[in-house]
Amino acid sequence: MMTMESTETAAGLDTKQRQDLFRQMVLIRTFEEAILREYHADKSPGFDIGKGLIPGEMHLSAGQEPVAAGLCAHLTRDDALTATHRPHHLAIAKGMDLRSLAGEIFGRESGLGHGRGGHMHLFDPATHFSCSGIVAEGFPAALGQAFAFQRAGTGNVAAAVAGEGAANAGPFHESLNLAALWKLPVIFVIEDNDWGISVARAASTSVPSNAVRAAGYGMPGIRVEGNDVEAVHAAAGEAVSLARAGGGPSLIEIHTLRLWGHFEGDAQGYRTELADVPGRDPIPAYERRLRDAGVLTDADVSDAEAAARTRVEDAVDHAKAAPVPNPDEALKYVFVEGAQS
């Protein structure tokens, strides 16, 4: 296990790449802010989780953009990625069509799953993206995708992302062992945002870093501190290269930040460090850093924000205008062949 400090990591990134990382994070944040707005727009008076244009549990990823941007910079659309109940940042960075994503979140026929899945169940053949609402049960799918890539000899890789809470669940262990045993091209990524709902990392995990667990599988393990997109980029780059070259899996734990509640409606009364959360927002921090380095101007920032806003609002508008699914077709898609029993 190694620890990578954020100061060492800019090396090798050119201006375009750094701007792209910034733009990717802005796009994700803009999307999440729009969903936040739409989600709460019509749930009052008296928050009702089932009401409104976007009903149900909503797990937003604000604060965790560095993970998605830094990791997905190394992945093509033909690589695979599996995510969790908190998937939007990764879906966007992986290149999912924003209209299909928003459509699914709004439960419309235009959505990725024609409204059957919802925000925790995004399956996109175009970007080989999937996710699962069951903690840690997304890991194994990545093994299978990596297995298929390995057999086909495509050189593609699969990334499996989950929270630090998931790293205490059985499938984490089974998946790391199997991936290492068969040298599958998988990159395991743990997003350590300090919390699993209301349970602090120290109350769930017997060791300070999941990266130390990599040694138990004979794979490289690294913990990235500082919620720093460039450090993530560097660590992910090594892991992806290793996997593509046939060197097998790696484990990366990234110390990141859950900027908002576990889900919308979470009052976070349990959260001791709540006061200093806003100050840890990674996007203004990265903006400052790039400005200080002279690679980001006022115009670049407004352009990034405007471009993001245009794409996101287009996706949201499109979703809102799309038809809701036909209730008479609720049983469609249970099976490919034939009706259900």
Partner: protein
């Protein structure tokens, strides 16, 4: 490993379904009260699960317990369901009385081996020498667009597998009485509460999620159904949130002269087969309303219970269940597959004209 008998005596002396009185609580509060009272009286009772301490349970099953009993008895766990449910089993085997929460019943697939091959079978495999006096408490049900992995009821799955009792309260009174009975039972009890009957501030509230609850301890016996509305034309056999939809329909149709009897099963294991047979004999027309998947579950068991007793009195049998489809996310789709009042009403109308 020891057999605790103390609470057996205590249980015998508790009132059985006493008068409800006038104090009104919501289901969540009634449930919390049952747990708190048992924890006060018995040091061996403790609560364990994800987010049961500071958070108070995602669906408020444990609100306030941490403040009263402290972190030694109200314990947050890692996301390691097999380990902590198994921990509950091991503690129960040593004489403790754990209440373990599985946050959503939908997650049973990550820990079912502990539940059905261990919790439920140890007493039998040991030839009665080892008891597992444990409560596995879990939230069920949909209706708020939580998708295919967070909206299931799944009680048919638990009830199918032998060795665990399964209770499913529909209202505050039963919630308290069944939880008290579950904690005091020397058998493992799966306690499944529907999110929609808890009376949560942040979810559409059923009007019957608040009701009269005695302050004293009492039990609702495990294995006893209840006729919650008498009727003569058609029987609805149901449970949990669907009881309320069924009562709404019964009230509405009473105005049209259709008399609907509603049986709240309350327990699935043991199943009160006498009550099922009695209502079927009374009306001859049976509708099972069940938020679980239709096939190979509760609705079939009701048909078999009636017909193996005597098929003759049965003039009509139908079911209003989830039609063997993963619960869809979009509201329009989800409400097309849930057992809504509209579907129940249509079924009753069909039944009386059949």
């Amino acid at each position: 490993m020891s057999i605790s008998t103390g609470t057996t005596a205590a249980r015998r002396s508790l009132p059985i379904e006493p008068d409800a009185g006038t104090r009104r609580l919501n289901t969540a509060k009634a449930l919390q009260e049952a747990i708190a009272s048992q924890m006060e009286q018995d040091d061996s009772v403790f609560v364990m699960g994800e987010d049961v301490a500071a958070y108070g349970g995602i669906f408020s099953s444990t609100t306030g317990l941490l403040e009263t009993f402290g972190p030694q008895r109200v314990i947050d766990t890692p996301i390691s369901e097999s380990a902590f449910i198994g921990l509950g089993i091991g503690a129960a085997v040593e004489g403790m009385r754990p209440i373990v929460e599985l946050m959503f019943a939908d997650f049973f697939g990550v820990c079912m081996d502990q539940i059905y091959n261990h919790m439920a079978k140890i007493h039998y495999e040991s030839g009665g020498n080892v008891r597992v006096p444990m409560v596995l408490m879990t939230a069920v049900g949909g209706g708020y667009s939580d998708g295919a992995q967070h909206s299931q009821t799944l009680w048919g799955t638990f009830a199918h597998l032998p060795g665990m009792k399964v209770v499913v309260p529909s209202n505050p009174y039963d919630a308290k009485g069944l939880m008290t009975a579950a904690i005091q039972s020397d058998d493992p009890v799966v306690y499944m509460f529907h999110k929609g009957v808890m009376g949560l501030a942040w979810m559409a509230k059923n009007k019957r999620s608040i009701g009269a609850v005695p302050e004293e301890d009492y039990v609702v016996p495990i294995g006893k159904a209840k006729v919650v509305r008498e009727g003569t034309d058609v029987s609805i056999v149901t449970l949990s949130l669907s009881v309320h939809h069924s009562l709404d329909v019964a009230e509405k149709l009473a105005g049209e002269g259709i008399s609907v009897e509603v049986l709240d099963l309350r327990s699935l294991v043991p199943l009160d087969r006498e009550a099922v047979i009695a209502t079927a004999a009374k009306t001859g027309r049976v509708i099972v309303v069940d938020e679980d998947y239709q096939s190979f579950g509760l609705s079939g068991e009701i048909a078999a219970t009636i017909t193996e007793h005597d098929p003759a009195p049965l003039l009509h049998f139908s079911r209003v269940c989830v039609p063997d489809v993963p619960i869809p996310y979009a509201r329009e789709l989800e409400y097309a597959v849930l057992p809504t009042a509209a579907r129940i009403e249509a079924a009753v109308r069909t039944a009386v004209t059949a």
